[in-house]
Symmetry: C2
Subunit: 192 residues, 2 copies
DNA sequence: ACTAACTCGTACGTTCATGTACGAGCTTTT
DNA sequence: AAAAGCTCGTACATGAACGTACGAGTTAGT
């Protein structure tokens, strides 16, 4: 939700501070979901008071960080070609999704712990819609199974992605094998 | 780890208190992973001080509750027939595992947040070993795929179970469909 | 019954991050 | 250059759990 004009009463230096804070929040929270406002302000090279001048609560900040991550992600995902064979399209979508999920897993955990129930899911409406649509198209093509609810298949793909991220983090799955493993797993779960 | 003789200097009423506390902890933590020691003592019908007399820290208590849940679970799981066709055996194992996972998901989350890194996984050594062995047997039978690491397949089954539990909790998957959905999903992920 | 163990209330001390209040001094903007 | 907006330190208030200390009363074991 970049609002260049809606709230353009902000001065240029404020704009800069906000950007640095959000960026620092993304970075820090992506490695430690429990990073404090103090940590984040410090990493942003900004006083804690400045931070509170722009974000009333820690939750606000976490949400802003997640929003930013999602916006960035959308830039990548929205440019993927999802036409043609659904299986191939899924492979392409997964390759990009995997990187994004792995990168922001901890940030997501932070948001889940601080934002109101369901908010995080709502924020993922766009990527979820994209995935659901591709799966549905695959089902119509006869490439994907239809014996399980589409909703469940969408969720399942998410769980596989997050699971793989967790395995990599824990050192039980080499990160260079992850994309392959994710792709094969998702394909078999979608084709039945 | 029931130690009937190792520490039998405990009086009968103490034994009783401990049992009630652990039981209350299991129940409460299974619905709210953030239940406080106060909540638990109250639910156990015991003073908070009594609780602290038996468990030095909250972490100790959570661990005891999880240990108890796992012990109970083992009683069920160890009696399952895992011989014969690996696919069928897996179906039987999943049916029981599903119920256990769904029931204690929140307790698990509590433990994950409070116990040292890796402890929760270590405590699951026995069920993990059982699952791994069955998968390996299925691979030898030619029933299960061998193109993905067995370790990953074991983890993946866990993620599917926990994912389904989350979907049910969120009301996105009717609980009476869950077992079916889990079984089909796991089977297709294991057969490739 | 006598001793040791257990219960449990009240009260306190601790910790830690969150968020607020105030105000002096810098930047932008116009 | 003047006004408005921003920065940011210090200091404080808050709140939530955790965990400790003390001590009087109760219950079990032998």
């Amino acid at each position: 939700m970049a609002a260049p004009s809606a709230r353009s009463r902000r001065r240029a230096d404020a704009e800069r501070s906000i950007a640095r804070i959000v960026s620092a929040a993304r970075t820090l929270l992506s490695s430690d979901p429990n990073a404090t406002t103090d940590d984040i302000a410090q990493a942003a090279g900004v006083g804690r008071m400045t931070l509170y001048g722009h974000f009333r609560t820690r939750a606000d900040l976490v949400e802003a960080a997640l929003t930013d991550a999602l916006r960035t992600g959308e830039e990548t995902l929205s440019s993927i070609d999802l036409t043609g064979d659904a299986g191939d399209a899924m492979t392409r979508l997964l390759a990009s999704s995997w990187a994004l999920v792995a990168e922001s897993a901890a940030l997501l955990a932070a948001a889940e712990g601080v934002l109101p129930e369901g908010r995080v899911r709502d924020m993922h409406a766009e990527p979820a819609r994209r995935m659901a649509e591709l799966i549905r198209r695959g089902q119509e093509q006869g490439a994907f199974r239809t014996d399980l609810p589409t909703t469940w298949l969408v969720s399942l793909v998410q769980y596989i992605l997050h699971g793989a991220a967790a395995e990599v983090r824990a050192g039980r799955l080499p990160s260079d094998e992850a994309a392959y493993v994710v792709t094969r797993s998702v394909q078999s779960v979608l084709t039945g």
